[in-house]
Every structure is written in C-alpha cells, then in structure tokens.
C-alpha cells in the first residue's frame, strides 16, 4: 500500500515537473504546442531518473538497498522543486516571439486526412488491447531488461549481480518498470513505452514545423512515424530503442530551438535541456554514443546556423558543447560509474580495441555477429525499405518481418527514401540560405549516417539506427508538403493505401495472439508464457536456475515477481561451468532448476536434485516444449529418485 501511494506521489510529481518544464521551454522562447509539450517532458523524465540514480549511488557505494518508491518520491520532489527554483530565478517568462515576422500559425484543416490517422489509430488500438490483456513480450525484454528491473526491486538497489559483467548495461528505460514492480503492477509493463511513441510523433511534427513544413504534411509525417512497424511493436514492449530515440529526437529539437534563441541565457538553458534529454537516451542504450556525438557536432556548428541579424550574443561552440556535456552527465554518470566499478569499462558492453590491444573490455562484436563481406551487406541493404527481408544481427530468419527489430512499412517505403532524394537533388541548386534550408540539410546528413552505420558499425541490426530512420521522415516532410499542396487527392489515396497495408499486416500478430486467448479463455500468466503454474507458487525469494531458453527468465520470476532467477550465462560466469554441480548449487543457494526439452544428458551422477514437476505428458499446448522443475535437495541426498515425478499440473 505504501508503495502504491508513493507511486501515485511520483506520478503527481511528474505532472508538476512537466508544468515546470513547460515554464522552462517557454522561458527559452520555444513556440508551438507540440514543441513545448514534448520538450517539457524532458524535465520530469530526467529528474525522475536523476532521483533514482542518486539513490542508486548510495546503494552502489554502501552496498545497502535504499531505493524504494518512498525514497525516490522524496528525492524526485526535491529535484523538481530545484528545477522550479531555477526557472523562477533564471528564466523570467518570455512574452517575446523569437521571430516576430512569422505571423500566426497556418490553420490545420484535416478533412478526409483523418482517414490515415484513423487507420493508424485502429492499428494502435489492436496492439493496446492485446498488450493490456497480456504480459510483457520480446526476447531481450524477457531475457535481461525486465529481469534486471525486478532484481533491483528485490534487492532495493541498482547494483548488478556480483561478478556478472553482462548485468552492467545502461538501463534508463527500465526505471519506470522498476518502480512499478514494487507495487506488482506487472500488467502495466507492456504499456510503459507507449507514451514514448506519442513523444516521437509530437517531436517529428515539431521538427517538421521547425523547417517550415505546413501543419497538415507535418501531421502526416508524424502518422508515418507511428506506422513504422519497429515503432508500433516497441511501443508495447520493453525494448529500449524507441525509448532512447524519443529522447534523442527531443534533444535534437531543443538544439534546433537553441540555435534560434535570442539571448545567451535562453540558448544555454535549451542546450542544457538537450544534454539532459540526450543523457536519457545514452543512459538507455550505449549504441547512442554515435548519434549523441552527432548532436555535439551540430552544436559546434552554431556559427553556420545563426543568422547575423538580431543576434545579441556571439556564437560559442565550445561553451555549447560544454553545457551539453554537463546535461548529458546527469542521467548517464551513474551507469558509467557502475559499469566502470564492475567491468572497468564505462561504456560496457562496447569493447574498445586499438591495434589488437583491448583498452576497454566488452563484447567482441565481430565474434558476436556473423561476418559478411561488405559487398554482400551493401547488396542486402541498398533497397531494404522495399523488400524488408528479415536480417538480424545473429543470422537470417526468413518469414514475417514486422517486429521490434525489422521493417519500416509501406508508407515509409512510398515517401521517405524519395523525400530524401528530392531534398538531396534540390540542394544542388545552390547553397542553403535560410535557417530552415540549413536545418533540412543537417537532418538529411544525420539521417544519411544510417546508410553507412547499419551495414558496418551496427552489424546489420536495423533498430540501432531508429533515430536516423525517423529523422528521415522529417526530411521527407518537405516533399510531402509540396505534393499534398498540389495533389491532395492523389496523395490522400496513396498515403491511405500504404497505411492500410502496413496497419493490416502489423495488426495480424497481436490480433492473432488476442484471438487465441479469447478462444482458450485463459488469461493467466503461466498459460501466457506456457510455463508450469507451480512457478507462481514457489516460496518468496526462491532461487531458480534457468537452464532453458534465456527468454524464459522473466516468466520464472513468478506472478508476484518474488523468485530470484539465475540465467544460464550468469551461471557460467559465476561458476565457470556449463552444467550444474553440487558445490556451486549449494554455494549460490540455488533451490530450483528449470529445464525444457531437450532434456540435459550431461549432468554429473549424484547431483542432489529431484523432479517436482514434469509436464511431458500433460502439457496443454503440444507445440510448446515440455518443462521440468528440479528441487535442489540438501547435501547427502545424492541423486535419489531424481526422476520421480511428484507434482504435475
């Protein structure tokens, strides 16, 4: 109950923080509802993360569990008050328009253009109903994102599992599930990233408006962004790419407005805001180092952006980058420190190697991902938007490609590559003169980095380039603007057909899953994950060794999220052994071992375990692998009746 009240206080403080954020960005001269609303989200988001990190630091250095919703709520309130104080003293409300000559905003008349909006809205509704009536899904979500968040809740600290380097990833995206886990609000886990999809849509709209795209084409650009299958699938999963991308796009928007600021103070505070937001992104996914560096490069180019007329302060590229860095560290320092303390590498798992010498240890990406020739990679990726073959980092998986990892959708294929080409050809006419033209070129250049990064540094993992993929939609909005103005009916028909195609194909998966649950009339957790129901009944704190698929880890935490699960890779790291042995089972306090078919045949004789569950003969869904749960017996049990089945249900 205490935790639920504290969570309600945190939610109320978030709204207060959003109000503070609104005052902040308005004080910096930002105009436009979408821009103000999504930039205002930065303050409460970063403040909440900073509050959790502050508590995390205490746990990191004291070894004690001090992070709870109550301590976080108190710290969060203090941080938001500090931000309010800062706004009151530093940013008097600005009533001055930054660009007085701009006039009132162009009117937005949707008319028949509501059709594509309704199509995409319908797709999200199907996903929403499926997610709201189901449980978290997705390999990485179930393997390590959510299990980490639950483990933090259990130990009340953000300390990683001792000796397990792979538990040292940056996880800003799991802060909210971590807090929800205290109140056992597991059913909200699939929905926690849905607001980020709305932030993405608002930011795409605001960025398009920033480069003088009219409201209607900007809305259509936002709708296309929401229709990208990677976006919609990640909106209802624990994958963190969308979470990080939303923050990164907000940072870019803050930088764009900073370059228009009329006073040095406004510029500094917007850059600080951009740094905070970029830090939220970088603290969620280490691969954002590359795109964060691109933001710093944009800041350093202030001289090129800023119009000479009306400038009241000199460009200060070094100072810009410094303020950006200060903001960046607020939401990343904790992860850098934690990773350095446990792995010796602040940007773990990225390995840094120079001339064959490992400077910072991490995953060897070349060993982790298949090596293919550059020619083959280019051949596979140059026309990706139109064929969407399912390439993943670990191999090729032919078949249905719409997922959290793959695909851009029909509307993207129809408009975005051509929109980028149109801008590229248009830019050959001469040097960009206006600020808007310069920003169009900058957006295009940033988006184009995906073409180089996906087949090389990103090892063909498309979702790593999600920021650039969505920024390309902003670039294409310039062409959309022209075409919608000149050929409204043809564009409406093309866009609607494309969105109907994508929405139909994308909605098949959740609709199928939902129909299956309705048909079976089973809505419980064990049925959803096809794991034994006994998992939910284990005594609180039961330590379970998961020797089955890594993605079974989350389901083994139990309905009360009270089991402690050790994954197979963690077992190997902690013991140096692949198979269980008596000494390590006792040393690590393992009480249960979970396995799925094919049954292990290499366990040592005399292992003190006894089967307490086996559904080989009784499982309801024949296509799901049979499962066994072994109970680890006290020393001296020595393997008697290991295969005697006592319980099955």
């Amino acid at each position: 109950m205490q935790d639920a009240i504290a969570l309600a206080v945190i939610a109320a403080t978030w709204i207060y923080g959003w109000h503070v954020g609104r005052l902040w960005v308005r004080g910096c001269g930002v105009r436009g509802r979408a821009a103000v609303w999504c930039l205002a989200c930065i303050i409460p988001t970063a403040s909440l993360i900073a509050a959790v990190h502050a508590m995390g630091f205490v746990g990191l250095f004291s070894g004690r569990g001090v992070v709870s919703p109550i301590t976080v709520a108190i710290t969060f309130i203090l941080v938001c008050w500090a931000a309010r104080f800062f706004v009151a003293t530093e940013l008097p409300p600005s009533t001055r328009m930054l660009r007085p000559g701009l006039g009132p905003p162009a009117p937005l008349r949707m008319g028949w253009w509501w059709l594509p909006v309704i199509v995409v809205g319908g797709m999200y509704l199907v996903f929403f109903v499926d997610a709201a009536t189901g449980y978290p899904t997705g390999h990485d979500t179930l393997f390590y994102h959510l299990p980490s968040a639950v483990r933090w809740m259990q130990q009340q600290s953000l300390n990683p599992l001792p000796g397990v380097a792979s538990d040292c990833l940056h996880e800003n995206g799991m802060i909210v599930p971590f807090l929800l886990a205290f109140a056992k609000l597991e059913r909200l886990f699939p929905l926690v990233h849905l607001p980020k999809a709305l932030v993405v849509a608002a930011t795409v709209f605001a960025l398009a408006r920033f480069i003088e795209v009219r409201p209607l084409p900007a809305v259509i650009a936002a709708v296309i962004a929401l229709s990208v299958p990677m976006v919609v699938f990640q909106s209802f999963s624990g994958y963190v790419d969308l979470y990080a991308t939303a923050s990164w796009l907000s940072a870019l928007l803050a930088i764009a407005w900073a370059m228009r600021a009329t006073t040095a103070r406004q510029r500094r505070n917007l850059i600080l805001l951009a740094g905070l937001s970029a830090g939220v992104a970088l603290g969620a996914r280490t691969s954002f180092l590359v795109v964060t560096a691109l933001l710093a490069a944009v800041l350093a180019a202030e001289m090129w952006f800023r119009p000479h007329e009306g400038r009241t302060h000199a460009p200060a590229p070094v100072r810009n980058v410094a303020w950006f860095g200060v903001g960046l560290l607020v939401c990343t320092t904790f992860w850098f420190t934690r990773a350095t303390m446990h792995t010796g590498n602040p940007i773990y798992p990225i390995e840094v190697k120079v001339a064959g010498t490992t400077l910072l240890p991490g995953y060897d990406m070349n060993a982790r991902f298949p090596q293919r020739s550059l020619g083959l990679r280019l051949q596979r990726w140059w026309d990706y938007p139109w064929h969407e073959a399912k390439y993943s980092g670990s191999g090729e998986n032919p078949g249905y490609p719409y997922s959290r990892n793959n695909a851009m959708g029909a509307a993207y294929a129809a408009f975005v590559p051509l929109g980028c080409l149109a801008l590229l050809f248009g830019s050959f006419n001469g040097r960009p003169r206006t600020q808007e033209e310069k920003w169009q070129i900058v957006f295009l250049l940033i988006a184009a980095t995906a073409v180089v990064l996906v087949p090389t540094v990103f090892k063909e993992v498309l979702r790593y380039a999600l920021p650039q993929i969505l920024l390309a939609i902003v670039v294409a909005a310039v062409l959309l603007d022209r075409l919608i103005t000149r050929f409204p009916q043809a564009m409406l028909a093309t866009a609607t057909i494309a969105l109907v195609v994508t929405a139909t194909i994308a909605a098949v998966k959740p609709a199928h899953a939902l129909a299956g649950r309705i048909r079976d009339g089973r809505w419980d957790r064990a049925w959803f994950y096809q794991v034994p129901g006994v998992i939910d009944d284990l005594p609180p704190g039961a330590r379970v060794l998961n020797l089955a698929a890594p993605s079974a880890t989350y389901s083994l935490l139990g309905g009360n999220l009270s089991n402690q699960v050790i994954t197979h890779p963690e077992w190997e790291t902690l013991t140096g052994m692949r198979v269980p042995n008596t000494m390590d089972l006792q040393r690590l306090g393992i009480q249960y071992v979970f396995v799925q078919e094919p049954w292990p045949t290499d366990w040592p004789a005399g292992l003190p375990v006894r089967v307490i569950f086996d559904n080989s003969e009784s499982r309801a869904v024949a296509t799901s692998p049979a499962a066994r749960i072994y109970r680890v017996e006290p020393v001296g049990y020595a393997g008697q009746n290991r295969n005697a089945v006592l319980t099955a249900r």
């Binding site: 969407e388 249905y400 294929a413 129809a414 408009f415 051509l418 075409l483 043809a490 195609v501």
Partner: protein, 43 residues
C-alpha cells in the same frame, strides 16, 4: 525546362511506383498473403 515544370508530378508518380514496388517485393506482404491463403484453405 519542361521537366522542371513538371517536377512535382514526376515525384508523385515516383512515390506511387515506390508503393507498388513495396507491394510487389516486400517480404511482409508476401508472408501476409501466404498466411491469408493458408487460412482460407483451412476454411
């Protein structure tokens, strides 16, 4: 000169062709149609 005058018409047709190319080539469309055909056969 004439092409420049019809620049936007050309881009519009290219967008339509791009959508057609997607419908013909995308693995998502192929997989969806295959699955739909399978379900229809079952019915």
């Amino acid at each position: 000169m004439r092409i420049a005058a019809h620049r936007d018409e050309i881009w519009l047709w290219l967008c339509v062709l791009s959508l057609v190319a997607y419908l013909l080539r995308s693995d998502a469309v192929t997989a969806f149609l295959r699955e739909a055909a399978r379900l229809l056969r079952q019915m």
